[in-house]
């Protein structure tokens, strides 16, 4: 989501006027400019433009406690349309329970204006429920390796987000076919879906056929689809091409390809999908078709994989 900041012309002019005056009075000392602008006199929109770019944690813990003006700025629900709490929290000595509390605090501040939220490991079904009741305008949801979120939770609460357009889920456990079907039916304007199955070993890539079929059955309006960490074969690919006619971006880079040699399917892929990223590596023993394909087709990607 792009953070937009409309610089208010009027305010800017007023500011510039006073700024200009300051300059004029300090103009006597020519040459090196030693101006020290008072940042609290900046138009609020300019300050917002900076603060909005900070992580949720940075705003909550540091920026809003700088001074009363900034506290006030950070109280604006529109500052909380985006809540991103993914990544490295090692700098902070917060446990999961605490991060969840901070996240709830940010959700409260959004006063229903939340549009984009990303939650990390600390996520739980309870938190998802909390969001479900307070973010009816949610358009983007990212769940990254949240140990406390179950299929049941997804089933129950993601369906509340009827305006959801973009869903990214990275999971350690498998996502059930049922969850995906429910999401597909309850989020009719979903345009982008990324599913990443987190695996520690390459030979643990998951079969995902049922889920793929559930997706193409219920999410026919998808523009972008991305999978990672799953095994994908010709049948799945054909199903995707048939089921999602609007799809123009398909990312299968980190999948295992399985019997992907069918020329006609590949041809269709290239014709139908503008932004196509085919699997960049195969599985030598069980799925040797894949590797053969890599050798002949996507050498560059294969190199990337080895570095990775």
């Amino acid at each position: 989501l792009i953070i937009k900041c409309n610089v208010s012309c009027l305010k800017s002019e007023v500011f510039l006027l006073s700024y200009y005056k300051n300059m004029a009075s300090s103009k006597k000392s020519k040459g090196e400019s030693t101006r020290k602008p008072n940042w609290l006199e900046l138009p609020i929109d300019l300050t917002k433009n900076i603060l909005q770019r900070l992580d949720t944690l940075d705003i909550l813990i540091s920026a809003r406690n700088v001074c009363p003006l900034w506290w006030h700025i950070c109280k604006d629900p529109l500052m909380w349309r985006t809540i991103h709490m993914i990544g490295n929290f090692d700098n902070f000595c917060f446990d999961f329970r605490c991060l969840e509390k901070i996240c709830r605090c940010a959700i409260d501040l959004s006063c229903g204006h939340l549009e984009d939220i990303a939650i990390g490991k600390f996520g739980t079904d309870d938190l998802l429920e909390y969001i479900a009741h307070r973010a009816s305008k949610l358009r983007r949801l990212q769940i990254s390796n949240s140990h406390g979120i179950s299929n049941k939770g997804l089933n129950q609460f993601v369906k509340k987000f009827s305006l959801l357009e973009k869903l990214d889920i990275a999971f350690m456990d498998n996502i059930s076919k049922d969850s995906l079907e429910v999401i597909g039916r309850c989020c009719p304007i979903l345009k982008s879906l990324n599913l990443e199955m987190l695996t520690l070993h390459f030979n643990k890539f998951r079969k995902f056929g049922d889920q793929v079929f559930a997706i193409v059955k219920t999410m026919t309006g998808l523009r972008h689809l991305g999978f990672s960490g799953i095994v994908i074969g010709n049948d799945e690919l054909v199903a995707i091409l048939d089921g999602c006619p609007l799809l123009h971006s398909l990312d299968l880079r980190h999948c295992f390809c399985h019997h992907l040699r069918c020329e006609s399917t590949l041809k269709r892929c290239h014709q139908q999908i503008q932004d196509l990223q085919l699997p960049c590596f195969g599985y030598n023993d069980e799925y040797d078709d894949g590797l053969a394909y890599v050798d002949t087709f996507e050498d560059t990607y294969a190199n990337e994989y080895w570095e990775y």
Binding site: Y19, A24, E32, S33, L46, R53, N65, V66, W71
Partner: protein, 176 residues
Amino acid sequence: MAEEVSSQMNSLSISETNPSSSATISLVSGDDIVFKVEPTIAKEMETVQSFIDETDGKITTIPLPNISSHDLPYVIEYCEKSIAGKITKEFEAEFVKKLNNEEVKELFLAANYLNIKKLLDFLSQVIADRIANKSVEYVRRYFGIENDFTPEEEAKLREELAWTFTGVDPDDEDEN
């Protein structure tokens, strides 16, 4: 690129020339250094362009009293890259490397004054990056902002933070 202007700021402010589309624009910094730039560069600077437009292109020397000759070349460099469509991550990373905290802030104000949206957004991000993961005290120092919470407000703040962060080490909480 830069040349000293002999006359005083006041007298040089407006010099009339033939309106011609290919004429270069002279930007005069606050410390009276003239920078000649292509009209396309001026287009990137909304403040400058609207000044030119208002006078039907007759005026091609524009005083920029708020911008020093130290900052203006950076602004021009960014605008040149922008026109050429060469604002890449690499360029921005290099560009930022050259700037210390004071310069970033000054350029931010310059971008605001000249109304260059792209540069302003970019510098907003740079400033945000530089105060990310930093303590309240650091952010205050960075912007030269006094802590002017009243004791009552401060107490309330502490209360709210305590509620938010129960479960955190007490030591950390004190720091915040």
